[in-house]
């Protein structure tokens, strides 16, 4: 027997590759097809843990442009802004002419004729911009050949069955889930019931038969084996949201609290059975499989996509759009450097009398609060580091039945941090009782709670306040409950996790973080470790606003744990031996910033000695003022708040907003993120970057050979790049790659959202989160020599892929020459900014409060709200 099983390589897919031949007959390898298919499905896990990722992760082995155009051709979504939008952005000056010319010359070579030709193509030539996808063409034949709309007949029931199976806690009556998984549970139901999900006999008999397998079903529905792959892709991508969650739960069943065993194979089989049922029901028993009726095979989904002139036009526009902003930033950085050399003189170190230091998350939302803290207290110093502060663990609050992971998603911690019991009462909301959905209790409940609901509604409208129904970032951890942080006995384990960290383990983590951000000397008396979280009401996407480095959760526990470790006497002794001496006069304080409410809370501040307590009180005043200013800066984008009011009043409005049920935008999340700057604070301090930059502290001076840098760069692509690309794709095609508008969303089984009752799950970001975002890729600027930077990103192929394939841009800022080196095709070349000068501003608050609000969220109106880079004049 000559079986030839073609292993599919990851770069070239072909429908025919999953078919091998047995005795001259084509045989499709269904498990393999599904294995391939799942790469392309949205990989969003249940929405309670929203983890940002590149929406087109399946294409990351390809160059960015090649990938997006290919994906766009296969699946039919918009991969960049529309041509008309680019042209309008050019007309309003948002895409700059000089940058556009530079980009054209860069890609098409210098020379007048070339420039004019391309410029004409970009600006005036009319193109057929219709994009008809390859997906769905085979399955469309059901309608063409048989006048049957299979999706309409099958999907509502299919979605409802799978949603009920996965449901976490909405329905009052749960299906018993069989140990063998989804299909076995359905089978059990069908065997033991007076009714059936099927309308006809054959499908049910097939389900109950012993030797049910997917190929057999495909043979009935599709017939020809060479069509199986295309058919399965067509079928699963008519509801990629549901298929995506099934695949995600299959991969990690414990991502659901009430875990479920399900597989994509089971799901596909049920869908095929329902299709057979629908076809039998509408066509009678004698219908030919689809493959027999199709004359010519449709275009192979993964066949090569030819490069078109239109694609080149899009590439030039996208480059020009990106560089119009990047160039401004780089020019601003250069100016800043020149100014600091002129005014202060080069090489001057930080102020000797530091009032305090604060380590924030690198999150771009913390970019503005750092600026304000520094403006309020000029003797302080701020740092940025991924918000889990290098301590990776699971957390179990008192009475918690589960563990919460508090570190970046790809990391699997070995440690558990527990809250020590203090009797803590959890709040409940009477109106959320499921009892109102039953008949008798429901009637009594309705009659009694109904009028209470009316009063509550008035409260919600006129006096919004925190309640148990609102996700409160500060309630993630009980600040009064002590944490078990230190492990004194390595045998103290729970569920294969070590409870707490041993002293050497602590020391390693503290050292790692401090060296990473270059905080190795000149410690202030108080060092704040400032995590962040976000409170919001009526918002299923709330965890997308929390800390990405803590798997979409508030980072309060991490901050508190880190501060405890850094204050530990034995830890400090070890560090001292390693040449990292933290003076005794220095104390670390954990804290958290609520990025939606603009509130801060400080942990374990009561154990400070009197002198530090006093200093802390002084600092609190500074933090409060900074929060007022930060709230005002943020409020400029919120129509409901009058930015010009008194700072305190604006701050109160911001707080109210975070607990308002009627507010679909409690905050704007990572909207507008564009930059990631890895380096000392002086390369950005004094620049107004409008909350668009992830700021990761790193001191090249303490790391000449780049060994620390490798660690620093490891998460940047995945975390910052992932966030950026999710925003990018959700922005350019909010319908297909985003979640659409939030307003009609319906919560499905507590694991996702869909429009209305019969819709597909909607992964991605809703329009309310992305409307302020300019879809440009992330520009990472690293302050070090190009060779060292190159080495640091080449640590693993997965990391290098991000840069080499241009999913993010990378620039090395050479500390010696102050030149920018742009990374392209594996090497660095010098880039000199074109923008002559960025504007200067004396008063940032005035700048932001005077800024105009967008008229609509159409990109051309919306982008105007994103302010240009300004140099802040020091008064």
């Amino acid at each position: 027997m000559s079986t030839q099983n073609n292993k599919v390589d990851t770069t070239v897919h072909s429908a025919r590759s999953k078919v091998y031949h047995s005795d001259g007959k084509a045989v499709a390898d269904v498990p393999h097809i599904l294995h391939e298919l799942r790469h392309y499905l949205p990989s969003q896990t249940p929405i309670k843990d929203f983890i940002h990722h590149n929406s087109l992760h399946a294409y990351q082995h390809m160059k960015f442009y090649e990938a997006i155009f290919k994906a766009s051709k296969i699946f039919g979504f918009q991969a960049t802004l529309q041509l008309t939008e680019f042209r309008e952005l050019y007309a309003i000056g948002r895409i700059k002419n000089e940058v556009l010319e530079h980009v054209i010359e860069g890609r098409k070579g210098k020379g007048g004729v070339n420039l004019d030709t391309w410029r004409d193509r970009l600006l005036r030539k009319s193109y057929d911009v219709n994009n008809t996808p390859r997906i769905g063409q085979l399955r469309a034949e059901w309608k063409n050949q048989y006048q049957v709309d299979l999706d309409n007949l099958v999907q509502p029931l299919l979605f409802r069955i799978v949603c009920s199976y996965l449901d976490q806690g909405i329905s009052l009556h749960k299906v018993s889930s069989h140990d063998d998984g989804f299909l076995a549970s359905i089978k059990e139901l069908e065997q033991n019931s007076f009714t059936s999900f099927f309308k006809t006999k054959r499908a049910k008999e097939l389900l109950l038969s012993d030797n049910l397998d997917c190929r057999k079903l495909l043979q009935i529905v599709v017939g020809q084996e060479e069509y199986f792959e295309q058919y399965l892709f067509d079928q699963q991508f008519t509801h990629q949201g549901w298929s995506g969650i099934v695949a995600a739960v299959e991969d990690s069943p414990h991502t659901l609290m009430d875990s479920r065993k399900i597989s994509l194979m089971d799901f596909v089989m049920l869908e095929l059975l329902l299709e057979i049922d629908a076809l039998d029901h509408s066509l009678g028993k004698d219908w030919e499989p689809l493959g027999d009726r199709v004359e010519a095979p449709p275009v192979d989904l993964f066949a090569h996509v030819d490069t078109t002139e239109l694609q080149e036009v899009f590439i030039l526009w996208q480059d020009a759009f990106e560089w119009s902003y990047y160039d401004e930033v780089l020019s601003g950085m250069q100016q800043l450097k020149t100014r600091s050399i002129e005014t202060i003189g080069e090489g001057k170190s930080t102020s000797p009398n530091l009032s305090f230091q604060a380590i924030f998350c690198i999150d771009e939302r913390e970019c503005s609060i750092r600026r304000h803290v520094e403006a309020v207290d000029r003797n302080c110093e701020t740092f940025g580091s991924p918000g889990f502060f290098g301590v990776e663990f699971y957390f179990q609050p008192e009475n918690g039945k589960f563990y919460e992971k508090l570190c970046p998603a790809p990391v699997t911690p070995k440690y558990l941090i527990k809250e020590e019991p203090v009797s803590h009462k959890r709040g409940h909301e009477l109106l959320y009782t499921p009892k109102t959905h039953t008949l008798l209790e429901g009637t009594l409940g309705t009659l009694s709670l109904g009028f209470m609901a009316a009063i509550r509604l008035f409260q919600t409208m006129f006096r919004p306040r925190m309640s148990p129904a609102i996700s409160n970032a500060f309630s993630h951890m009980n600040k009064k409950a002590p944490l078990v942080i230190e492990n004194r006995d390595v045998n103290h384990r729970e569920n294969d996790l070590q409870v707490g960290f041993t002293v050497p383990e602590m020391a390693a983590r503290v050292e790692g973080l401090l060296r990473g951000i270059g905080m190795v000397k000149d410690f202030a008396p108080l060092v704040y470790v400032m995590a962040h979280g976000s409170s919001s009401a009526n918002n299923p996407h709330h965890s997308a606003h929390d800390c990405g480095a803590c798997s979409g959760r508030p980072g309060s526990v991490n901050a508190r744990v880190f501060a405890h470790m850094a204050n530990h006497r034995e830890v400090r002794n070890i560090l001292k031996e390693k040449g990292l001496a933290i003076p005794e006069s220095t104390w670390f304080v954990g804290a958290m910033h609520d990025t939606a409410a603009d509130q801060m809370d400080f942990y374990d501040a009561d154990i400070l000695d009197d002198e530090k307590k006093q200093a802390h009180q002084v600092n609190l005043v500074a933090f409060e003022e900074a929060l007022d200013r930060n709230a005002t800066e943020r409020s400029r984008r919120f129509a409901s708040i009058n930015t010009k009011r008194d700072l305190k009043k604006v701050r109160k409005d911001i707080l109210d907003r975070s607990v308002s049920m009627f507010e679909p935008r409690p905050e704007l999340g990572h909207g507008t993120n564009t930059l990631c700057i890895v380096g000392n604070r002086d390369i950005t301090k004094g620049l107004f970057l409008d909350r668009r930059a992830f700021l990761n502290s790193y001191d090249y001076r303490t790391d000449p050979d780049g060994s620390v840098l490798t660690g620093v760069m490891r998460p940047i692509g995945l975390v910052c790049g992932g966030i950026n690309l999710e925003y990018y794709f959700s922005r350019v095609d909010n319908h297909k790659l985003g979640a659409g508008t939030k307003l009609p969303h319906n919560i499905m089984g507590l694991f996702g959202v869909a429009n209305s009752s019969d819709g597909d799950l909607r992964p991605g970001l809703p329009v309310q989160m992305i409307e302020v975002h300019d879809p440009v890729r992330l520009l990472i600027v690293v302050e070090h020599q190009p060779e060292i930077v190159l080495k640091s990103i080449q640590s693993t192929p997965e990391i290098y892929e991000w840069y080499l394939n241009e999913w993010v841009h990378l620039i090395a800022l050479h500390p010696g020459t102050n030149k920018f080196h742009y990374f392209k095709n594996g090497e660095f070349t010098i880039y000199d900014p074109i923008t002559p000068e960025v504007p200067a501003a004396d008063d940032i608050l005035k700048l932001v409060t005077d800024a105009k609000e967008m008229e609509t969220n159409y990109i051309v109106d919306a982008t105007v709200e994103n302010l240009p880079v300004h140099l802040v004049n020091e008064s």
Partner: protein, 620 residues
């Protein structure tokens, strides 16, 4: 005091007209007009109710104005106020105010902000038109408008497939309720030989006087009213439209399907209670419908895995109980139950997105994995579970038994070759007109059959249009011609004065012309206006979408055109013994609106067919 009643309808209409003139992007004035309208309404109403209670709280009735009068027929707008009105309108105002306040922030920057508030204001007007109505005619005006508002708000996200599909589904079933109401109206006309008002119904002994000899007719009226109420309130077997209507923004779903719109059926029963309170058969039917709904809807609600559908079904179960309460005469309880349910479901829907974080948080602390799942279910439990998931096949049965037969019939007509059909129809129409002109010379026997023949032809044409999959223009013209046949049919009923026919036809003519122009305009773009799929032209031709929508509504006889009056007029000219004519005409009117809205939806709504910009997936 009665003079004030009209204010409560006029105010929302004024607000609506004002808001039409505000530019699309001006969110502030748009929301302020809505808030101002509803707020002022609530203040005035509260004052009015207080004054009314001080004066003793007797029912008020006023014949506001007579729209049309002839010796045999009078179409009057009549308002009525009693405690049912007071409760329904006050609760409605409070909920509307809250929802408008909520939406002002919630809807910020939503494409269609203006559309939303305009819709809400018409809904507000329609709701009060129903609640304050003093006779069936006024009630019916509000009822029809409410249906159209629902259609527009369910299809609010008009560039997606599911909202549009479901909007059509809901309006189709609503239309069944409309027709039941028209037939009830017609029957009442023949029972009482006049257009009665609700205050007359409430007179002691008024209905009883007519009962003898009209038993069957009153039973029929009761059934029609019950079907109408069951449709509007999503009662068994019409429940499945309610969860499917939750397609619009959460705040509009809250006001429509959570609270106000779904309780209109209960209102209809309360309002017409005097009419059927002595007919035991009807009372039993109301109780049975209510009880079955309460049980079935609860069974379905128990297995719903999504928040909004769960609220929808549990609300329906409560409404089922209200039906029982009304039938048993416990009206105060029904009113309290209505208020409580309306407030509770509005609240639950408005905060439905927060259920995720609340329940997840709750699970985190209280859920023990692997408990519930292991429990073995009994065979009955499994069956109930599966039936619940399938929503007791209600949606399927509706399609199968309500729409499918008519579609099949329409399709059979497709087999007639086009040439023959057109020639035939034209000849018959001309023959009909000629016969009408020389009516006096025809034998009386022939004349009695003419109405049935022409009503039948009209009906067939409508069904043909209903099943049309080809050109939208053809379907539209078919409907227009069908309207002519219906007119012709009724004109043969001796006593129709020509100017009444003109009233009816004038509306049809204008609508036909603008509609044909609009559709032709769209046809010229790509030469493709087939009804086989959605085209989504509203994306590139929003103005023509409005023109065609208004033409379609006018053609269907919505209460802003003379056609509406005409439908009413024509119906009163159908004699009590012309059951066949009533059936044909009712079926025609039932499908005319569905057909026209289908034309509008297929051409202008749904996914835009040209993929040069981001378009939603069909399943989203």
């Amino acid at each position: 005091m009665q003079q004030f009643l009209q204010v409560f309808i006029a105010l929302p209409l004024l607000g609506f007209v004002l808001s039409l003139f505000v530019p699309r992007k001006k969110e502030r004035p748009l929301s302020w007009i809505a808030m101002g309208t509803v707020g002022a309404h609530l203040i005035l109403l509260t004052a009015f109710i207080s004054a009314w209670l001080i004066r003793g709280g007797d029912a008020l009735d006023i014949k506001q104005f007579i729209v049309y009068e002839s010796p045999s027929f009078e179409f009057a707008i009549d308002f009525y106020f009693d405690r049912i009105t007071a409760v329904y309108s006050w609760v409605g105002d409070v909920i509307m105010l809250l929802v408008v306040l909520f939406s002002r922030f919630y809807m910020h920057r939503e494409a269609g902000f203006k559309r939303f508030f305009n819709n809400i204001l018409i809904f507000f007007a329609a709701y009060h038109c129903i609640i304050f109505s003093g006779n069936f005619e006024t009630f019916f005006v509000g009822w029809e408008l409410l249906g159209i508002c629902s259609f527009l708000l369910i299809g609010f996200y008009r560039d997606r497939y599911l909202p549009v599909k479901n909007a059509l589904k809901v309006i189709s079933i609503y239309r069944l309720g409309d027709i039941c109401l028209i037939i009830a109206l017609w029957l009442c006309h023949h029972i009482f030989h006049a257009n009665i008002t609700f205050s007359q119904l409430n007179l002691p002994g008024f209905v009883q006087e007519y009962l003898p000899g009209n038993g069957t007719m009153i039973l029929l009226v009761g059934i029609m009213l019950l079907v109408g109420a069951a449709v509007k309130s999503g009662q068994f077997p019409f429940s499945s439209w309610v969860p499917r209507a939750m397609e619009g923004p959460t705040s509009s779903s809250a006001v429509f399907y959570g609270s106000l719109s779904v309780h209109i059926g209960v209102f209809l029963l309360l309002r017409t209670y005097p009419l059927w309170q002595d007919v035991t058969a009807i009372k039993i039917m109301v109780i049975v419908v209510g009880a079955v709904t309460a049980l079935v809807a609860t069974a379905i609600a128990r297995v719903q895995p999504t928040v909004k559908t769960q609220i929808a079904y549990s609300s329906l179960a409560q409404i089922g109980l209200m039906f029982i309460e009304v039938a048993l005469g416990w009206h105060i309880l029904a009113l309290i139950h209505f208020s409580a349910n309306a407030f509770l479901r509005t609240y639950q829907l408005l905060v439905s997105p927060s259920v995720l974080s609340y329940l997840i948080h709750d699970m985190f602390f209280s859920f023990t994995p692997g408990q519930a799942a292991k429990k073995k279910q009994s065979k009955l439990g499994n069956s109930l579970y599966m039936l619940g998931i399938k929503e007791w096949n209600l949606d399927f049965f509706q399609y199968r038994f309500l729409w499918s037969p008519f579609k099949w019939l329409g399709k059979q007509l497709n087999r007639v070759p086009a040439g023959i059909a057109v020639t035939g129809v034209v000849i018959v129409l001309i023959a009909g007109i000629v016969m009408f002109a020389m009516k006096e010379e025809l034998p009386a026997e022939v004349i009695t059959y003419m109405p049935i023949v022409f009503a039948g032809i009209g009906c067939l044409l409508v069904l043909r249009a209903f099943a049309e999959r080809g050109s939208a223009l053809r379907a539209f013209i078919l409907v227009a011609v069908a309207q002519c046949f219906i007119t012709l049919s009724i004109s043969f009923n001796g006593d129709v004065p020509p100017h009444q026919i003109l009233i009816f036809l004038s509306g049809i003519a204008v609508a036909a012309i603008t509609g044909v122009v609009g559709l032709n305009r769209i046809k010229r773009i790509d030469n493709d206006i087939s009804l086989n799929n959605f085209h989504g032209y509203a994306y590139e031709q929003p103005r023509w979408a409005v023109v065609v929508l208004i033409s379609c509504l006018a053609m269907a006889g919505l209460p802003f055109t003379p056609t509406f009056l005409g439908i009413d007029l024509l119906f009163t000219h159908i004699h009590a013994n012309q059951l066949a004519v009533v059936i044909f005409t009712s079926i025609s009117f039932l499908f005319i609106e569905i057909c026209l809205l289908r034309i509008y939806s297929r051409i202008f709504l749904g996914q835009h067919k040209k993929p040069y910009h981001p378009i939603a997936y069909k399943s989203s």
